[in-house]
């Protein structure tokens, strides 16, 4: 029994049906971790990208160093650090939030590079034209540069969304009951790993396909405002 649901080991289909609700609760946790982690990565990545583009090295270099550090260390280390070390400094977060934060942090390094590349791909002439029209730098960024960078950024970000989803099982090491962890527990207790693990695999495949389809849909519907897709 898990989450109040008992499993029925009397046959194949009864077993499948009985563990489904349990796995779906795990799936919900996986989705939440993905979405929250991705949201953190999007915001933090934008911040890092902006800092890396700063005109003074005093700001740009530390931001670059942080990106490099995050990118070159395993997610697991960052996760353990947040989970086991931060409490020593009086900062204790629930396991789930710690996990989502670790995912967001790790992926912010990647998304910041996506933003940077997307922004740099906008021709220099666009900035110059805005400047020649006396437009303020902030407005130039939000209304001229960013809208043109977004169609270049979206597909790459989508790939990281799928990637984050596939990294969620790492959170099981800090006791988060995401989908794979739930399947393992069911296997431990029923001595039947094949069925729960297969279902998890299928559910992951479905999620990935849906996400990929969503990204493609966005990809074809975003540039309708005349933004050239490169």
């Amino acid at each position: 029994m898990l989450f109040g649901y008992a499993w029925d080991t009397s046959g194949f289909w009864p077993f499948v049906i009985s563990i489904m609700p349990i796995l779906l609760i795990g799936l919900w946790v996986t989705l939440k971790a993905t979405v929250i982690g991705f949201a953190i990565a999007l915001v933090l990545g934008l911040l890092l990208a902006a800092l890396k583009a700063a005109p003074t090295r005093l700001i740009a270099w530390p931001a670059r160093a942080i990106t490099e550090f995050i990118r070159d260390t395993p997610l697991l280390i960052q996760l353990f650090f947040l989970f086991y070390v931060l409490p020593d400094f009086g900062l204790t977060l629930p396991a789930f939030m710690t996990g989502a934060l670790a995912l967001g942090l790790q992926y912010s390094a990647y998304t910041s590079e996506v933003y940077r590349a997307g922004l740099e791909a906008v021709p220099r002439g666009q900035r110059e034209a805005a400047r020649a029209l006396s437009m303020a730098p902030g407005r130039t960024f939000t209304h001229i540069i960013l809208p043109q960078a977004i169609p270049r950024i979206i597909p790459a970000l989508g790939n990281y969304l799928v990637s984050i989803m596939k990294d969620v099982p790492v959170l099981s090491v800090v006791t988060v009951l995401e989908m794979l962890n739930v399947a393992r527990i069911i296997g431990d207790r029923t001595f039947n790993y094949l069925v729960p693990l297969t279902i998890v695999g299928i559910l992951y495949l479905l999620l990935t396909l849906i996400a990929a389809w969503g990204i493609r849909w966005l990809d074809t519907h975003l540039p309708s405002h005349g933004v050239a897709l490169k």
Binding site: Q126, R131, A132, L133, Q148, H225, G226, V227, A228
Partner: protein, 261 residues
Amino acid sequence: MSREPIIRFDRVSKRFGDFTVLDNLDFQVQPNEKVTIIGPSGSGKSTVLRVLMTLEPINEGVVYVGGDPLWHEYRRNNELSPARGAHLRRMRERLGMVFQQFNLFPHMTVRRNLTEAPRRVLGLSRAEADERAHELLELVNLGNQADKYPGQLSGGQQQRVGVARALMMRPRIMLFDEPTSALDPELVGEVLKVIRQLADTHDLTMLMVTHEMHFARQISDRVCFFDQGRILEQGPPEEILSSPKEARTREFLHAVLNPDE
């Protein structure tokens, strides 16, 4: 010509690394004067326009636009010191620029390309900006294209939008940086026609870099031949284009007018 020049370069130097683009340049333009700049690539002719549009900073000297220093501000004791952002933004409103690659905003309609800056920078209402955009699109013969995106227009049409967009800010000085160089030959005429019309009907100071010698002859009060960051020779178009004194000018003109030799 005793009037105060609207543009004045006072011993201006500009370097990219070891390469000197503008070399102690002295250069003046009178109000309403139409000046064409010609010269080989790397002679600094485009840089003059880009310095004026505040796209490229200078290393030495002072540039004056409308009597005020462009890249400097007066501080206490009337001393010149490097300009801050606010000063540059204010000064920029005196100039408009048409780019070789048009540089229209591809994600905005033609109308929005025109009205975006006047509404945000000059504080025009939507109605005022739309009205002004309508007038200028009529002027460049694109009155019925306001709702299209730049990608739906030909190169010649795009460049005419570029001209209209620069005019929206009501600049006193218009800068044209090789406005027809990126166009297919059959589209050059329509853009030149608009520029000529502009020169005839508006009180504008115009500064143009171009390789269209025939056009330069028609439109300019003065032609300046740039070589190695300086003005080697300047004067009325008939004089410079027909009987230049300098050998370098003759060579250049010969090469431009007889590209297959």
